[in-house]
Symmetry: C2
Subunit: 222 residues, 2 copies
């Protein structure tokens, strides 16, 4: 705590144990959730003393905060045609889920830990939201009409709140991750990557750019 060193020298002893703690913490938090992942178990995984965890991270909550730091690394999708947005984003989500245990740790913990839930909320508000805003901004240039109160025009897509779209995407993305990686619901866990993208893609596309169905009118969603 005394030195938040700026030197990125690879060999420092403390940096290696610090990294070992973080790796072990991510695995434990991802596998067990916040309360069942004990500092003692994490320390044992990293083959260090539990007191070291306190020395480096202060307390359990700060350890989790450090272990669950996460960036969705959302790509720029504004060049893609509309109907491929969902598939591309779904594919990206699958990459992020399978490439980094932090997200699984964050999901498991956010169900019972308020700090983790806060971070989850912020993740979608601060990262997914802006991406969607940029997306609809680039597609709105085609219509280029004033954003006045007329709700049921051709521009109906942009009349939906960006945050709402982000929230809807979150419901499908987190729900899929929950069923596939946490609950391991067999039919969802057994889905191939291509099947998953094929099923979720249109859903995500609609949440990103579409409109809700207005009553019984909905005829075709393709």
């Amino acid at each position: 705590m005394t030195e938040t060193a700026a030197e990125t020298a690879g060999g420092r002893r403390s940096d290696r144990t610090r990294a070992a703690i973080l790796t072990a913490a991510r695995e434990r938090f991802a596998a067990d959730g916040y309360e069942r992942a004990t500092i003692r178990a994490i320390a044992a995984d990293a083959t260090i003393d539990p007191a070291m965890v306190m020395r480096y991270f202060g307390n359990k909550e700060k350890l989790f905060a450090a272990a669950a730091e996460f960036d969705l690394r959302l790509p720029d999708l504004s060049a893609l045609p509309r109907e491929e947005l969902g598939a591309a984003l779904t594919s990206h989500f699958l990459d992020r889920w399978e490439g980094d245990e932090s997200l699984k740790a964050l999901l498991r913990a956010s169900v019972t830990n308020e700090v983790a839930a806060d971070r989850m909320r912020e993740l979608f508000a601060a990262q997914l939201g802006p991406m969607i805003a940029k997306l609809s901004a680039s597609t709105a240039s085609a219509a280029s009409s004033a954003t006045a109160g007329g709700a049921n025009t051709v521009d109906a897509a942009s009349s939906v709140d960006v945050a709402t779209r982000a929230g809807l995407v979150a419901t499908q993305a987190l729900g899929f991750a929950l069923c596939r990686y946490v609950l391991a619901l067999p039919p969802v866990a057994n889905l191939s990557r291509e099947e998953a993208v094929a099923w979720l893609g249109p859903t995500i596309t609609r949440y990103l750019t579409g409109t809700p169905s207005t009553g019984t009118r909905q005829a075709n969603t393709s």
Copy 2:
């Protein structure tokens, strides 16, 4: 033995405390998850002694099993037109989520507790699966009016595994519940009931009866 009959008014003394324990347990499990919901806290809520919980339910796991017993009470949707299936099922899910805390308890616990996860898996396999099976059986006979354009193959729907459909519905249903009731993601929590049904309805409908995005243009070169 004789206790099954006379429990409407007043009832046996033990039945009342038993019910009080179950109610308190459901609330605590729903609010805190499995590990943070302590027997002592549940007993305090029910204003009884912690030892009573053990007397009536044996141990914490059995208490949870009793508190999280749940029936989705899925309605018979086979009379509805295809495109309204999703909205009807979504509406029913909202009712169940908001009318009984058991589901919230089950969701929160299933993320960290294996017994709860098992029950969650069984819930969708044993209750939602059969309902979809009945659904696709009835529509296969009735929906032979091939005038509705746009579909490529009439039998394409039934070629998808029923369990897969149930799993997909689970991803959206649980994801929505997670975001709305557990994480309280603002844009999702603030959705009105009608908005929620309008957004989720088409998604659920497609998972119930539709096909993955093979019908539309496939830009996937894998």
